[in-house]
């Protein structure tokens, strides 16, 4: 098995991006990765060597969940809003919007458990097995959270298109 440092260095960009989607804040993400690496280093001896990425993300999720439960009254979670009615085929205009970066902004507005599933499976391209290990849930739960998360994101993006159409028609 490779040494901890080489695995940690290789996984750092993924850990940082996932941390950013969890915390919604660049500084907090950096701190979270730092704490995760400390915990991972101390647990490296007991790690079985399978799915290092999932193992580290799971540690990170546990660290984050503990922090969040301490600060539950100050949660940064943004509540879901109802999307507005849409006109026309909203997906015709979507490609340009996706390129403009609004897709990540909208991803950050969906609840954390769904956001994490979409981040791991769609953005980071983890397999269901790896995502299940990272989230510490069964594969079926990963699937259902992914489908629901995609649906929420799709509705939010459709709402954006509708808003821009309303502005254009005003």
């Amino acid at each position: 098995m490779p040494g901890f440092e080489s695995v940690a260095l290789a996984e750092m960009p993924v850990l940082y991006r996932v941390a950013k989607r969890m915390t919604l804040n660049a500084t907090a993400a950096e701190d979270l990765v730092s704490q995760t690496l400390l915990k991972a280093a101390s647990g490296w001896e007991g790690f079985d060597g399978r799915h290092a990425r999932s193992w580290m993300i799971r540690i990170m999720h546990n660290v984050y969940s503990k922090e969040m439960s301490k600060l539950s009254s100050q949660s940064q979670q943004v509540p879901l809003e109802e999307t507005t009615a849409t006109t026309g085929n909203v997906w015709q205009d979507l490609d340009a919007r996706l390129l403009s970066g609004s897709i990540v902004e909208e991803l950050d507005r969906i609840p954390e458990e769904y956001r994490l599933a979409v981040t791991l499976c769609d953005m980071e391209e983890l397999s269901y097995e790896e995502a299940a290990a990272a989230m510490d849930v069964p594969i079926g739960t990963v699937r259902s959270r992914l489908y629901r998360g995609r649906q929420m994101l799709r509705e939010r993006l459709a709402g954006l298109v509708a808003e821009s159409e309303e502005c254009a028609n005003a």
Binding site: A29, W91, R150
Partner: protein, 80 residues
């Protein structure tokens, strides 16, 4: 919450799971063939699949912009 337009654009109920799997290239063989063949003939399912694919491609293309090289450097220094 579904708007009327979203309801109109929803895929065939029995296809949704297969379309979700096909969108991220996780389905294989006969199931994948059936899904794509259905989506090619059914407008609603075809648009649903196209929208999921566009969304997933958008997420993947954003991956590079979400990596802060300076932050990674700082973390790497702390690790050593």
């Amino acid at each position: 919450m579904h708007s009327n337009q979203d309801k109109a654009e929803a895929p065939c109920r029995h296809m949704e799971r297969m379309l979700q799997e096909a969108a991220s290239n996780r389905s294989r063989g006969l199931v994948r063939w059936y899904t794509l063949a259905h989506a090619a003939r059914c407008g609603r399912c075809g648009r649903f699949l196209a929208s999921l694919r566009a969304m997933i491609a958008g997420l993947r293309s954003e991956r590079a912009t979400q990596t802060d090289e300076a932050a990674i450097e700082r973390l790497a220094v702390r690790l050593k």
